[in-house]
Symmetry: C2
Subunit: 405 residues, 2 copies
């Protein structure tokens, strides 16, 4: 049986392999591995979310629905995310629900908009699912830089340079960011909006971590002038409502985009999103208890991030920018003499702590200055574990680095 | 915002539009519409299925899992479907679970195997989701004929002729069939297997209705010599376990295919299938009560099909081949002087009964003899409603046809 020629060019996320590595290390060592490689909140979904979906199952509400999702959930999602925007107006007609989580939303957006060979700018560093969706649609990505010295804010000079150089039709944005924990500043977003209008490109913005900004409010590119017609948003309840494994995603965009290409692609790729999950989410996501639960979780993540950043920076040879949101930190470990890949493998083997090598987030692109793949000297640590686990893990990282010298 | 150039060539299923038409007709007439356009069992999922999934939600088992699915479900699926095969040996390594139902399975199979421009033979008439998956992967489809006079069995002479003519690399098979209710005979499958080995093509067989063969056992192409290495199977619990709206699918194939391209595509398109659904299905699908529930349902569908076929054939100007499985009948209505499109629209407007025009299942292909699109003079009726609803609906169809003359 022969496979499609293009499979080699298809970019798949590496994080799942590290889950296998962790399982192997656990088996070999006979001791539990601390899994800091995965971006999965350790909070259970709020009981109202769990019970609402369970109830839809009990009642057998398991039939087909409309390709763009149940009106009742589209309406509730519009209401929920409207509270995050200052100016953008969102109604149910701007919202599509997907099967398959935010990743499906990425794939459908890329397939809807891109032609093979289309150029796409992505932040470096970026969530690998973006590379997956772009490569599945035949697009080609180029990096724009972030500024580690400014908590991974966008390097707007580099961004404009790359736009001029590549004439890219699409720019990805991810704020708060996976893997860096960086949050794009108001000034950067203003500049990005200015450039989008000037150079007529579409912004594909991943707002999956919109509920996890540590200081101040979440700011969306959608709130800047002229962006309502040139922005498409990736979102979903996975991270905010602590249900990453139920695989529901949201796409927000102009109503003509939702009712045209997205309706068609949803139909072709999965007919309709799952019904009981939608009915359960519709009943629960705007409940005041659920909304305040998200706030509490965010505060907890902030404490953990601050603790981990402070403790990591106290380790010689590790430099860790502050994290402004999401649940990751992305330290530079070049002074240890190891690459992120070597660091992660040895840390797993020697200390039973699993983190991800930074190059997983570089899309295979080569940094023009260092001539190495982006992220070669970084690791990503997820702080979605309890503070006690994190204390122990950072302690082991300290011991590990100490042992290197 | 510009969209991808290839969206026009993307084929989307029309059945969802008729759901909208039905809703409009209901509003305009102020009376309920009998919805016979959708292939959705009117049986609720067995309580054990519903409760098992609900329990996983209650317990908050909502985290990520492996891209190919939970081992516990892969094992149970292998066990369940093994009972349908006479010779083929299926283990968990031959099974992948998908988000997004059987439709996602189709898309992933097509994307894994096909290059743009690849030729694919499809039965005419066929489930539109196949055209969707093929078009999304850039493949091009050509028809092989079925034999209405032999209950829509495969026309093997035409099949071989089309294989020689097109040199197609892939042949789709759907038995029991949507839309025809036809079941491929042992002799036809034997011939197909012979041709597959002779001309070295891959068979993509949709076995979603494997639990709904009315007379005798289900026969799979996978049971014929040499087919284990050149067959990929589309399956899922939607129809058998009456959970079409939870959007889970199964892909069965050689272990190298599952662990290679399918693992990669699952990762790229949806990361992992939904966890609570998988855990719940794993606990319930092989329970003896659930298995016998499927049998009872099949018997009920058989009764309904026989009744509908007999009653339709008693209407002058309607010719309806017997249905051997699934839950559809596909009568020819050419003698009414109407096309299927006209018939379906008028029947909805005048009698509040919704069926689908046959051309929805022809993939836009033109019949070489009639020079019309395949299915122009057919309608599809789903018998997934209660016998009382079907009695009333067929009575209205009778009145409608009577009123034409």
């Amino acid at each position: 049986m022969k496979y499609s020629n293009s499979l080699d060019r298809l970019y798949a996320e590496g994080a799942f392999i590290w889950g296998d590595y962790a399982a192997t290390a656990e088996k070999e060592s006979g001791k539990p591995v601390m899994r800091l490689q995965i971006g999965q909140p350790d909070f259970l979904p709020h009981p109202l979310v769990r019970q609402s979906i369970a109830q839809a199952y009990e009642e057998g509400k398991t039939g087909y629905g409309p390709p763009l999702g149940q009106d009742v959930l589209r309406t509730e999602v519009a209401k929920e995310i409207q509270s995050y925007y200052k100016k953008a107006k969102i109604t149910k007609d701007n919202v599509a629900i997907t099967s398959g989580g935010g990743k499906m939303a990425i794939g459908i957006i890329c397939r809807s908009l891109m032609n093979p060979g289309d150029k796409v700018l992505v932040p470096c560093y970026d969530y690998p699912g973006h590379f997956g969706g772009i490569s599945d649609a035949g697009g080609v990505w180029f990096p724009y830089k972030l500024l580690p010295e400014q908590q991974y804010d966008i390097d707007c000079l580099d961004l404009e340079k790359q736009i001029k150089k590549t004439c890219a039709k699409f720019v990805f944005l991810l704020s708060p960011s996976n893997p860096t924990g960086g949050v794009a500043s108001y000034e950067s977003l203003e500049k990005l909006a200015f450039l989008a209008n000037k150079y007529q490109f579409t912004v594909i913005t991943d707002e999956i971590y919109r509920g996890h900004v540590f200081d101040g409010d979440f700011i969306s590119i959608l709130d800047f002038p002229g962006m309502d017609t040139r922005t498409v948003v990736i979102d979903g309840p996975g991270k905010r409502n602590c249900v990453p494994g139920i695989r529901i995603g949201y796409i927000i965009g102009p109503s003509t985009f939702i009712d045209g290409p997205v309706r068609k692609l949803n139909n072709v790729r999965f007919s309709c999103p799952p019904t009981p999950e939608q009915l359960g989410l519709a009943k629960s996501i705007n409940h005041p208890e659920v909304r305040s639960y998200i706030s509490e979780m965010k505060n907890e993540f902030k404490k953990r991030c601050d603790f981990v950043v402070k403790t990591l920076n106290a380790i010689p040879k590790i430099d860790c920018p502050k994290s402004g949101g999401a649940f990751y930190v992305f330290p530079n470990i070049i002074k240890t003499g190891l690459t992120g890949e070597e660091f992660a493998h040895r840390l797993l083997k020697e200390k039973n702590v699993c983190v991800l090598p930074g190059a997983s987030f570089g899309g295979g692109m080569i940094d023009r200055e260092s001539k190495k793949p982006y992220g070669t000297y970084n690791i990503r640590i997820s702080i979605a574990s309890s503070i006690n686990v994190l204390k122990e893990a950072v302690g082991r990282i300290k011991d590990f680095v100490k042992g290197l010298s």
